[in-house]
Symmetry: C2
Subunit: 754 residues, 2 copies
């Protein structure tokens, strides 16, 4: 008998399936990390015996770094590809290059010899659709043709995007950050980070961005980076087989995503730490920094922007700011906070509507309609027609002497006595600037409204760029206002803004506004400031940025503690235990645990007195994911915990393969055979191998704030409750989330998964 | 009876002393955090009832930010004062200003009208001691006078420093970072962060730095910042009364310290996160960032360097580097790692010698002898005579056209045909440079040796500057070597270093070397790279820096996993549970717990059957810090845990104040009066209020790696061990540390404190 038992002893040779998880379930961090330490210990022990094993052990130690290198290279390459493709398709909406349709506007004109410095964008090879069709570029008919072609391409791109997502990878839609946060906290969503999601998301992201919808590629790039990391994990058994180790890599990948999105490696690492990650040990900090740098340099080698810059919006000015300007900066913070809170409420309401009404059944039509509205309204206004990133870039920039943009349409300095050096100083706004301001105000209104219905559609859609665009417009408007105020009322700004001096930088206001709005929507703080700091490379603007983001966060928090990602997690009912939110109620473990007072008693197994049939009946009559094992029903003294999945697989396997195990066999969770079992009884089924002998317990008097802390910090899935040494009940992560929902007057049934 | 009991019920009105800690003990993080949540909940509940309470609740919420502001301001101001004073006293060793002895050299010459751009440092008002005494500045006799005065001041300063430390604040010596790490992990060292330590450390730090010893002020500034924070905590009851909350502030203060030391706020925050902190929630991240910025800007307003720069070593070059140069950078990494490992071993051996031999009894003589040796050897060599910070600054800088320093003593470019622009390009080393190289090589040897015996003396002494100096010298030497190699062998560097081009930047090599050596000694990684990044403000040098720090860490780790701070923690026997080190052995909780198999049974209290006398006898016959309470001796079913200190205070108080409690009174840990107690018995002593009803338990089968993880993540002091629901034993933090010491073949008795 001993031999046959030993064959299936799950300790030495686990059955396939034992120790793995089902889809939409929460992993047990403690068990996963313990498994990895066992593996590591085994490799270390072996390495003492042979050189081969020592080499294996060294390669194992460096496999993490190698993986990070690969993730950085792959993500950087994909991000470069996305940038190039999106640039090309966006220009396709305007016209085509005669030298070859695969050139984008800028690239097309590089080869032209006739290009002068000021007209880099104009060359005979590049034809707008109107020029191609009607042979002319001005007048109402060519304008109409351009308009129609713009709409045609926009609708085509968005149709392709939404169809591809629906047909091949439904998980490719949205920004992906809420789901990645949930996955990193220990949830399993199979296929969410798979290769189909990666391929389809990459393609549809390019299409969605090019279609002119009010969305960005920065959030989805985080998802793309995580897909890359997850796929590359399959190369290394260390990461393939261990859910906890894989999540370390995914945390680093989130940093890589932001690093390539903004060209800000340090900001990316802090973003992952602050916003996305759940378990972020120092080793991961260091590795994600490495991967973020590799990705940033890969992207720079690809050089998609053609200027060998690492950052998305390079800011050249280094003008000082004055303490008085903190007031408008804080004003921008308040605006950002208010808009953030409002946006979240409106977007969630709209998404709820999509979920509950018939709207949700027609995603393709929804996308087409929104694209049509966006295109129709965006084309006439040059600030909405250009892509979000271009718009922000233009708003961030300060006017230089040669600048021909409308935003720099100041009057010539006729009143100050003709000194050329002063022409960069303060000037009255001219007609061009006033037109630009009007257009910007309209663009602000448009962006604020259209983003609410765009985010959450069934196409890849990021929020960073639209939020920043809203803030940048508001900031630029305020900045120009301040500048004109200073110009016409120099005496108000006595002492620091003398006539003729260039004392207010509207581009800085745009930057601060962008940070404030992004902060209001996402509630990022340090990482946001650091990303902005990396854009400028100077410490001088940290204080304005910090004042604005802090104000924005406080204002937005006053209307609701959740950022947009947490709100979407809650909307989808994912089991996510927010690490930032304090549990502020005085309940005890006994108030939260199951069974409740009116419920039937807890379903437990005994360590040696139950038969296989009894166990099967008990398991099948309930839907619990696991069962505590006790010494006896009377004493209720806890021995261990066994998972439903492991139990069913083991019994099933024993019935099939193990000689003599029948329904009447005793199930033994002990090492020894109990004396009470009759000698003629069928051979017992020994299951100590699948029993978790170290289940977590708390006493019934443990305050829930401590219990929540334990769940968060150790990453538990369940915890048993005892009173004076007797087993009393069980608390799962879902119970805690339901209790928290109840405490804040939300529907506890909104938590959908285990 | 009910009334008198209620009067002393410790839940409502804790006795003075209950819930506090003794010196050299470990705090219970869970209890402290729970206490703070209770306090917060109470304030929130009250705030619903009256406007006054609402205002109080708001002020409570903002008190953390206010405290951070104050910490930033105070630390920034003190750091500015230290910089100015140290600068003045350092110059005092050389000479005196005739306009007023309180001017330092640079300041003295500011007022001089005769100063030209090139001779900023020379002016008639500033007299060297030789000029003052002998009336001349050249020749052997004036040199001798300068030498003697230099020695005199150095000895005077170091004598004052060590005497002040000995007389008033013994805790003011050393860098303080090992102790701060230990305190942040939850240890209590009373007075270590007190006002006397602050005052004396500030004064003696200035003296020690000025005495010319091979030490820096950067590490001690972290201690100074933590003292400031600790003292300011007393203004806010929220932080004064709660050890866990106070440690959050101290973590932020560590960031502030590095921020003012290097002018690198982001690097400071990451330093605190990576190197010092134990419990670093996101809220602290954000607050420490704020405080670090405030401190940096306060320091800039004080402007101690007179150049309105924030950073300590401002680097102006932005020359590109080539991939081939990674080889020498990695070489510098290997050097840094080797030196770091060697330094730690040598320094620890020397400190052990100091502890165990009679050397330790004469700290004043030791300091004077080391100062004398340092002064005698340092004065003749201009690179060792200048302060460490000045040396590093000079080594980091690249040669400009007008530079008159010896390090820029290149031959004039006679062979390239006379173009002036090329004179910055590559040139052959001249006589001046060769002399400088010899002096630097001697300085390197001297610094490497003298730092080993300097660090750990009874004066404030930081390691950052000496380590960086060693690395910077080595890096500069290698950099000049590479430069000359490139000059004489242009064909080797084909394709990227054409003749006449300035392709190798020796200053960059110095920077990389400094990072490598500092990394080798402290094992910092991300924070080190970020600090260096903030010094230059450009992303272009991150890859060289990272390659060097990574190599340095790996090389140094091969010789011993501990950084210098962990080594000193271990040397002092502090109970510090390293969060980075994985526990890699397969022991179970049952192997570590007390009592061991041969020991007498665990000392437990029963919940209602013991009398006051029995309890007192049990407590006095042992030295344990706490006792488990069980239902009965037979069942060993766990009810709770009571601390020795709380128990003694409560019994003592009850005997004094509570009517009728005598030795024969029953001690009740339950709510009800047991039926077994005779009605004529003396009134029982009810102690449920001091009983911790939610002690942490693990089963005897729990692997130690999981147990260590629980201790680390939750910050436990002790944990009870059960088997099948029966109490079996107890594991304390000290037991774990002893076990870990044993596992790595160290003396388990080296852990000195609880």
């Amino acid at each position: 008998f001993v031999n046959t038992w030993a064959l299936v002893d799950p300790v030495d040779d686990p059955l396939p399936g034992v120790g793995t998880y089902e889809d939409f379930n929460t992993i047990d961090w403690v068990r996963e990390k313990s498994k990895d330490r066992d593996r590591h210990r085994e490799i270390t022990n072996k390495s003492r015996h042979s050189t081969m094993a020592l080499l294996l052990s060294i390669s194992d130690a460096f496999s993490g770094w190698l993986l990070m290198l690969l993730v950085g290279l792959k993500t950087g390459a994909i991000a470069g590809g996305i940038d190039i493709a999106a640039h090309w398709l966006t220009d396709m909406k305007e016209g085509v290059c005669l030298n070859g349709f695969w050139f984008n506007h800028e690239h097309c004109c590089w080869t032209s010899n006739e290009t002068t410095f000021q007209e880099r964008d104009r060359c005979p090879q590049w034809k707008s659709w109107a020029e191609l069709v009607a042979g002319s570029s001005s007048g109402p008919f060519p304008y109409f043709i351009n308009y129609m072609m713009y709409m045609f391409w926009a609708l085509l791109f968005s149709f392709l995007a939404v169809s591809l997502v629906r047909a091949f990878a439904p998980y490719a839609c949205g920004s992906g950050i809420p789901e990645i946060k949930t996955i990193l906290s220990g949830f399993i969503i199979r296929g969410y980070l798979g290769k189909w999601t990666l391929i389809i998301k990459t393609i549809t992201l390019v299409l969605a961005v090019s279609s002119g919808l009010s969305l960005g590629k920065e959030g989805p790039l985080v998802h793309v980076a995580c897909c890359c990391a997850n796929i590359l994990c399959h190369l290394f058994p260390k990461y393939r087989k261990n859910e906890a180790k894989r999540r370390e890599v995914l945390s680093a990948a989130a940093a890589v995503g932001v690093s390539v999105a903004f060209g800000a490696p340090i900001g990316g690492v802090l973003f992952s730490l602050e916003e996305v990650s759940y378990y972020f040990p120092l080793k991961t900090l260091w590795r994600s920094f490495f991967a973020a740098l590799v990705a940033a340099f890969t992207l720079r080698s690809i050089n998609p922007f053609g200027n060998s810059r690492l950052v998305l919006f390079y800011v050249e000015f280094h003008a000082p700011w004055h303490l008085v300007e903190l007031a408008p900066f804080i004003l921008l913070g308040i605006f950002g906070g208010l808009w953030g809170a409002l946006f979240i409420k409106a977007n969630i309401a709209w998404c709820k509507r999509r979920k509950s009404t018939r709207l949700g059944h027609y995603p393709v039509i929804e996308v087409l309609v929104v694209t049509a509205i966006t295109g129709l309204l965006a084309f006439p206004n040059s600030y909405t027609r250009m892509s979000g990133a271009e718009l922000i870039s233009e708003l961030f920039n300060d006017c230089s002497l040669l600048d021909s943009s409308q935003l720099c349409g100041y009057k010539s300095p006729t009143n100050t006595s003709g000194s050329v050096g002063n022409s960069l100083g303060d000037r009255a706004a001219g007609q061009g600037l006033y037109t630009a301001l009007w257009q910007l105000a309209l663009a602000l209104l448009f962006k604020m409204l259209i983003t609410v219905i765009t985010f959450g559609m069934k196409v890849p859609s990021g929020l960073f760029i639209p939020s920043m665009a809203v803030g940048a417009i508001a900031g630029r408007l305020l900045g120009v206002g301040m500048e004109q105020l200073a110009y016409y009322n120099h005496d108000w700004f006595n002492g620091w803004c003398s006539p003729g001096a260039d004392c207010i930088t509207p581009g800085l206001y745009a930057m601060v506004g962008a940070a404030a709005c992004l902060g209001g929507v996402t509630r990022m703080t340090v990482s946001l400031v650091v990303i902005m700091f990396e854009l400028t490379g100077g410490l001088e603007y940290i204080v304005p940025l910090m004042a604005a983001t802090m104000t924005s966060k406080w204002v937005a928090d006053a209307f609701g503690k959740e950022g947009i990602y947490e709100a979407h997690i809650r909307l989808n009912g994912y089991p996510f235990l927010e690490p930032k939110e304090e549990f502020d109620h005085s309940s005890l473990a006994v108030d939260v645990m199951r069974p409740r007072r009116s419920d039937p008693a807890l379903a437990v197994l005994t360590q040696e007195s139950m038969t296989v049939e009894e166990v099967e009946t008990l398991v099948e009559s309930t839907h619990y994911s696991g069962f505590p094992v006790v010494v006896s029903q009377e004493s209720q003294r806890l021995v261990g915990f066994v998972l439903r999945r492991d139990l069913l697989i083991s019994i099933d396997n024993a019935r099939k393969r193990q000689e003599g195990v029948v329904g009447a066999s005793h199930v033994l969770f002990t090492d020894h055979t109990p004396a009470a079992v009759a000698p003629e009884a069928p051979p017992p089924l020994r299951l100590r191998g699948i029993l978790d002998l170290s289940p977590f317990t708390v006493t019934d008097h443990t305050p829930m704030d401590i219990t929540v802390d334990i769940f968060r910090k150790l990453g538990l899935r369940q915890c048993l409750v005892t009173h004076n040494g007797r087993l009393l009940g069980i608390i799962t992560k879902k119970d805690i989330l339901k209790h928290m929902a109840q405490m804040s007057n939300r529907d506890p049934e909104s938590i959908l998964f285990n």
